[in-house]
Symmetry: C2
Subunit: 342 residues, 2 copies
């Protein structure tokens, strides 16, 4: 990720290192009262310890960087936003521990998931511990901020956590939803992907003491960034590997996931709808199905939606008037997230 920020490499390295120190301090608290193995589980999830710990296992750490870059680009002290950066990264990892249980995913970032390694029961509990630590991390803002600012951050933060669970609930129940799939799709993505990104940018602006307009602009930047990212991810889930590897792996079609191109296909094409509803899609069916979706305009539709959302994200970022190297870095981060190779 460091290559992304030609003007801000030293700065983003500093940010990452301060956030990491704060995360270590917070997670170490979980070892108290004879619960050292609980701390080990959390440090494993963070990619720091255990078999396969590595930079890759640590994940991209986009959310904490959004907090500190936004604080700096709002002309605040990014160092004073570090507790919020730690909090969003902890919530992200808490939700990954539980999502992996809920989706029965056996690997994450190239390693066995926490439940696969320690069992479902300890993993559910370890997620809860990570969630508790996230709330405690956020309260660390009090060192440099007024009590009212910390409460505003807490309110926003816990609303976001609720929103995450609403998005996940929709995802788990998606097939049986009464509303039109497209409406539910945006509610789901708004919760699962966009909520924590928009919380990250908003907390950064809040910690910097940004005015209401600027704070809203940053919040919306994060929101549209999340929506655009998900639309792009949906396209990659069907056509990403096809062009890179010369063949379609197309996991999203096999897993039956209701993504944006699939929803378009279901509403626009009788043939695709019949095929989709006739039962389990096998890997062998995927190239044909992917071609059918492309022929009826699904891919172009999803790309145009993603482009429009990307424009909205970048417009909101512009209107927030981000300053300095961090402003540049926010632009670079958004462009990289949204223009991934398809």
């Amino acid at each position: 990720m460091t290559d992304l920020f030609p003007h801000a490499q030293a700065l983003t390295a500093d940010m990452r290192s301060m956030v990491r120190a704060e995360l270590t301090r917070v997670i170490d608290q979980s070892a108290a009262h004879d619960a050292e193995t609980l701390r080990e589980m959390l440090a494993y999830q963070m990619g720091w310890e255990g078999e396969g710990s590595s930079a890759r296992a640590e994940g991209k750490k986009i959310r904490p960087l959004l907090v500190t870059l936004t604080a700096d680009a709002s002309e605040g002290s990014w160092r004073q936003s570090v507790p919020a950066a730690a909090a969003v990264e902890l919530v992200h990892n808490f939700s990954l521990i539980h999502d992996d249980i809920e989706d029965q995913s056996e690997t994450r970032r190239g390693r066995p998931t926490v439940w696969k390694k320690w069992g479902v029961a300890p993993a559910v509990n370890a997620g809860d511990a990570m969630f508790s630590l996230a709330s405690l991390a956020l309260l660390g803002l009090r060192e440099h901020h007024s009590a009212d600012t910390v409460l505003e951050a807490s309110q926003r933060f816990h609303q976001t956590c609720l929103r995450l669970t609403q998005g996940q609930h929709l995802d788990l129940a998606f097939e049986s939803l009464a509303k039109t799939p497209l409406e539910s799709y945006w509610q789901m993505v708004g919760g699962k992907t966009a909520a924590l990104l928009s919380c990250s940018t908003e907390l950064g602006a809040l910690c910097a003491g940004a005015g209401p307009d600027r704070k809203t602009a940053y919040q919306q930047f994060g929101h549209y960034l999340g929506l655009a990212y998900q639309a792009q991810d949906d396209i990659l889930g069907i056509w990403g590997e096809q062009e890179k590897l010369g063949k379609s792996t197309a996991g999203d079609l096999v897993s039956g996931k209701l993504t944006l191109p699939v929803i378009f296909g279901l509403t626009q094409d009788q043939e695709f709808r019949s095929r989709w509803r006739s039962g389990q899609i096998e890997a062998g069916d995927v190239p044909d199905l992917a071609r059918r979706l492309e022929d009826i305009g699904s891919r172009a539709y999803a790309q145009s939606v993603s482009d429009r959302l990307t424009d909205l994200a970048l417009t909101r970022l512009e209107s927030a008037q981000p300053s300095g190297d961090s402003g540049e870095a926010l632009h670079a981060l958004a462009r990289t997230l949204l223009n991934r190779q398809v």
Copy 2:
């Protein structure tokens, strides 16, 4: 429970009704963004809705009552402690949803558990939603309290949540712990049972603006109440039904739970230790094992521990100088919890 409080029946009814209204208001928030079935799951867990909803299904609601009674007995406005009362009840129910998954318990308060009814994945997520709502509920204190008071309450509350997960972690890993079982036993009970009770009384005192000594006394009252309750519960788990029903059902011996009488037996009696370690205890073995434990003094030991902890709880309550009908009610509540029929 209402018979418990001869002098405070109208008052406790008022408290229960205000807490219930606040809980309803908070839980209703979960239905937003198309997540109405998420709200249904939470209302089911609270015992309000769905098949089998009833007073019994709602549970005893000890914790919210400890908050409001302590606030009133500290000469504060108990009404201003209602958001904290709602928060502790929500955390309690969140932990029950997840504990039932972790222990694979199929019934709770006479009804199928949430995971049994909706499946593990939606239940893990519903627990997370309840946890988020608990944090949001607590922030409702801001309406009547200073920002610093709300932050103090939040800090205490989220530390308690972490402590709950540490206790649960020990419970899940209990058999393989390196430390002496007795030491780990108290760490576990301190987390699983005592932490939320002591948080409840402390939050009540905090909301009433009690001074540091009184706040500490109430906090310790809740702590010892929790420890004494657990010791008593351990005794009931082996000998409770035996005397009431004329036979031993003794679920705790069959499930292999490391309770206080069992730990005494393991450390004091070679014969019991061999039998315990030889494998699964069957229901038919229970009367003999229970008698052996009684013969070697296990029951008397656990009872003496429980009595000592009860004394400590009541002494701390005395030193908090609880006033009025709520003070009487706190005494009555403690006596009832601790002197259950053995």
